[in-house]
């Protein structure tokens, strides 16, 4: 556990003073997990609200503005309603898998959050294969989607789930390769190390041309990974009802919905960490010494950058029309993948010839 802010240190010491070491560390892990759960359940709800507001503004509407000031409690009320709803299901559904699927999706989404360096000392789990861990976890989510679509015993759900499988497996490759391009320049998979490297300039600046190409590919593939428009043929409303979660209701539906938004946050957070220097402030601000005075301000920078990228993804969603399945696969296998491989070689050359830009 890497949280060493003074308040957590006090709790840490107090826990270890009143109980044996093993019990104390388990208690500590549970506490941290609960804190993360609470924060990100609420954050996910507010991302839904943000999406609705941003969508409204793109379409010259006003958006939710009735519940609470400026509609701020709208999604809370929605969640409350979903909790109180009956959990329906189909008669011939595979009950065990049907009930299991939402947890797959939400747990894999929440697990990925553990490794992000929100600020220097606010990182729950700093493993040395951070990027690999993120890649691995984010591909578990698709298992939940496939299981959910299969066990619903509904053709729409099944088609949606299969499309999701095709899409995620294809685009996983692009996400992986574009991150690998950045790993070439950072020289480490550990997220805190990657941030450390960026103290000499964000990686998107350090790696200039190939880094920008990698970022573009990452954004395209990341949007596809989260099953959002223009790659939302998984839950294409006009064709498939609601896609893989057609048969889900109440809180199980809410899990899928929340997981989608947390996944969006995760994709943006990975981009922030790998391309935009995570919690580091912009280089021209370092001379003011704000970061030294208040180390916690890194959270603001991290969230600011992440939300900017989230906004970019929302901008995509409310601008571009949905791709057909063959266009989707053409884009990945004929364009993104070869470009990505070329880009990887280019980045390797640049790192080898020492052509990176460093401050």
């Amino acid at each position: 556990m890497n949280i060493t802010l003074s308040i957590t240190k006090n709790i840490h010491n107090w826990l270890f003073s009143i109980m044996p070491e093993g019990v104390a560390s388990i208690t500590e892990m549970v506490l941290i997990a609960v804190v993360y759960l609470a924060i990100f359940a609420v954050a996910g709800l507010y991302l839904v609200l943000l999406e609705r507001k941003v969508a409204a503004w793109f379409q010259l509407r006003i958006g939710p503005n009735r519940v609470g000031w400026w509609g701020l409690l709208q999604t809370m009320a929605d969640a409350l309603k979903l909790v109180s709803k009956e959990l329906t299901g189909t008669v011939k559904a595979d009950k065990f898998l049907y009930n299991l699927a939402p947890y797959f999706v939400i747990v894999s989404a929440l697990m990925a959050l553990a490794v992000f360096p929100f600020t220097q000392e606010f990182q729950a789990f700093d493993i040395n294969i951070g990027v690999l861990f993120l890649m691995a976890i984010s591909s578990i989510g698709v298992v939940g989607i496939l299981v959910g679509g299969w066990s619903s015993n509904n053709k729409f759900a099944l088609i949606g789930a299969m499309r999701s499988g095709v899409q995620t497996i294809s685009y996983e490759l692009s996400v992986g390769l574009s991150l690998l391009t950045m790993v070439l320049i950072s020289g480490s998979l550990q997220l805190s190390e990657i941030v450390e490297v960026q103290k000499n300039g964000w990686l998107i600046v350090q790696g200039h041309i190939p880094a920008i190409i990698a970022f573009m590919i990452y954004m395209i593939a990341g949007t596809a990974e989260t099953n959002r428009a223009p790659f939302d043929l998984v839950e294409a409303e006009s064709e498939l009802g609601a896609g893989f979660h057609t048969e889900y209701s109440g809180m199980k539906f809410a899990y899928f919905f929340l997981a989608e938004f947390i996944n969006m946050f995760i994709v943006a957070a990975i981009a922030t960490t790998v391309f935009f220097g995570a919690w580091l402030e912009p280089a021209w601000l370092t001379s003011f010494g704000i970061a030294e005075a208040f180390p916690a301000i890194g959270v603001v920078w991290f969230l600011g950058k992440t939300l900017t990228i989230v906004f970019l993804m929302m901008w995509f969603r409310w601008t571009f029309p949905r791709l057909r399945i063959d266009q989707l696969l053409t884009l990945e296998w004929k364009y993104l993948l070869p470009l990505n491989l070329l880009n990887l070689v280019l980045m390797a050359l640049i790192v080898w010839l020492n052509l990176t830009i460093q401050f």
């Binding site: 503004w57 793109f58 010259l60 509407r61 006003i62 901008w315 995509f316 601008t319 571009f320 470009l339």
Partner: protein, 158 residues
């Protein structure tokens, strides 16, 4: 190399689309088209082409323009309009003349097709822009369009 040309063209068209929506996003505060209906009930004005219900305008001396020709009644595809009329002696000329007693309009049956208004040769009936038409009893939806004691405006038939 149409391969790279395609990529460049793709990126360019995507950016064009994003700039369009981006402009909408930036002007959304001023240009919002949403009407916050129950709040702006006092000021909300429906546009001219809106088809609320059929009304018969009366001028200040309680005169309408309906001659009772029944063209609207015939034009109506589902019997929404019923005209009760008789022949009365016109006090001005002393001749017997067709006059409406009641111009009955069943709002509950009306499909807002507008054929009656097109058919009317004297523009006696027009569209109103009101839309709060819900009532607690179906019988309220049957309306008599001409006001009690009203008469046809002189010179309409000519």
């Amino acid at each position: 190399m149409s391969y790279f040309g395609d990529i460049a063209k793709g990126i360019k068209t995507l950016l064009t689309g994003m700039s369009v929506t981006g402009k909408y996003f930036l002007t959304s505060r001023k240009g919002a088209i949403t009407q916050q209906y129950p709040d702006n009930r006092e000021t909300l004005k429906m546009f001219e082409r809106f088809r609320g219900e059929v009304v018969m305008p009366h001028d200040e001396s309680n005169e309408h323009r309906c001659t009772g020709c029944q063209k609207c009644e015939i034009a109506c595809p589902n019997g929404t309009i019923e005209i009760i009329w008789d022949r009365q002696v016109d006090p001005a000329t002393g001749k017997k003349k067709k006059m409406i007693d009641q111009h009955i309009y069943h709002l509950g049956m009306c499909t807002m097709c507008g054929l009656c208004i097109e058919a009317c040769p004297t523009d006696a009936i027009v569209w109103a822009q009101n839309f709060e038409n819900s009532v607690y009893d179906r019988s309220y939806l049957t309306k008599v369009l001409n006001q009690p004691g009203s008469k046809v405006k002189a010179g309409i038939e000519d």
